[in-house]
């Protein structure tokens, strides 16, 4: 029962996704690229960085990068929180 339902819904969803991605512009020939053209043209002038991806990461979409760094920080904190000893050591020192 579970197997059959699982397969049916899985196939339906994947069919939609596959059908969906064939409707996207042909690979390598994007329809619209205004934002990216602007960034590629102006990043050297506005940020002084030769690496456009770095310019996007740290200037145009810097809040994303801050969020990304925050997520890494969160995960580190989370891992250390979960692996901690649940009892304090005797406070000798």
């Amino acid at each position: 029962m579970r197997r059959v339902t699982g397969w049916i819904v899985l196939i339906v969803l994947v069919a939609f996704l596959v059908w969906g991605v064939t409707l996207i512009h042909p690979f390598g020939y994007p329809d619209a690229s205004d934002m990216d053209d602007y960034i590629i043209e102006n990043s050297q002038e506005e940020t002084g960085s030769n690496n456009v991806v770095a310019a996007v990461l740290f200037d145009y979409r810097a809040l994303d990068t801050l969020g990304e760094a925050t997520i890494l920080f969160t995960a580190v904190m989370g891992v250390l929180l979960l692996l901690r000893a649940s009892k304090r050591k005797k406070e000798t020192s």
Binding site: Q44, E45, E46, T47, G48, S49, N50, N51, V53, A54, A55, L57, F58, D59, A62, L63, T65, L66, E68, A69, T70, L72, F73, A75, V76, V79, L80, L83, R84, A85, S86, R88, K89
Partner: protein, 153 residues
């Protein structure tokens, strides 16, 4: 703890790995790479040390407390650089045009210049610090935990 050959080779290789990682971090704004990638390269070196030596030995080298401080300070540097621009707008790249990393390269393809990019190289550096400290803390903590040792507060 693996054989002596592995340990010796690891001892020699770690230098190159760290230098390559730092190169990737520092040149993040002119060549492919950046703080995350370079940090990951350095951490891969640390993982190599973890495999070659034991986690107990590595623990003496990298203290949990120190890693935590380095990571927090990396994050604070990053957010501080973002705050520096708040006179105009948060995240404003205020170093473009100043003597520090402020040169503007020739428009179009050309050789890179390390003194460009404004706050981008500094942010790369801060992120690199953070990634190195953070990921090595995670790897070390997981290795120590599987050896039965829990993280202290």
């Amino acid at each position: 703890m693996l054989t002596k050959i592995v340990r010796t080779v690891a001892n020699q290789l770690i230098l190159f790995i760290v230098i390559f990682g730092l190169y990737v971090i520092v040149h993040g704004h002119i060549t492919p790479g950046g703080g995350f990638q370079g940090g990951a390269v350095v951490v891969s070196g640390i993982v190599m040390l973890l495999v070659a030596f034991s986690s107990q030995e590595l623990k003496k080298l990298l203290r949990e407390r120190v890693l935590s401080i380095v990571e927090s300070s990396g994050a604070v540097i990053f957010i501080g650089l973002a705050f520096a621009g708040i006179g105009t707008v948060f995240f404003y790249n205020l170093l473009v045009g100043t003597p520090i990393f402020g040169r503007v390269p020739a428009i179009g393809p050309g050789p890179g210049d390390i003194w460009t990019g404004g706050v981008i190289p500094l942010m790369n550096f801060a992120v690199g610090l953070k990634v190195i400290a953070g990921l090595s803390a995670v790897v070390l903590a997981l290795a120590l935990f599987s050896g039965g040792e829990e993280v202290e507060e």
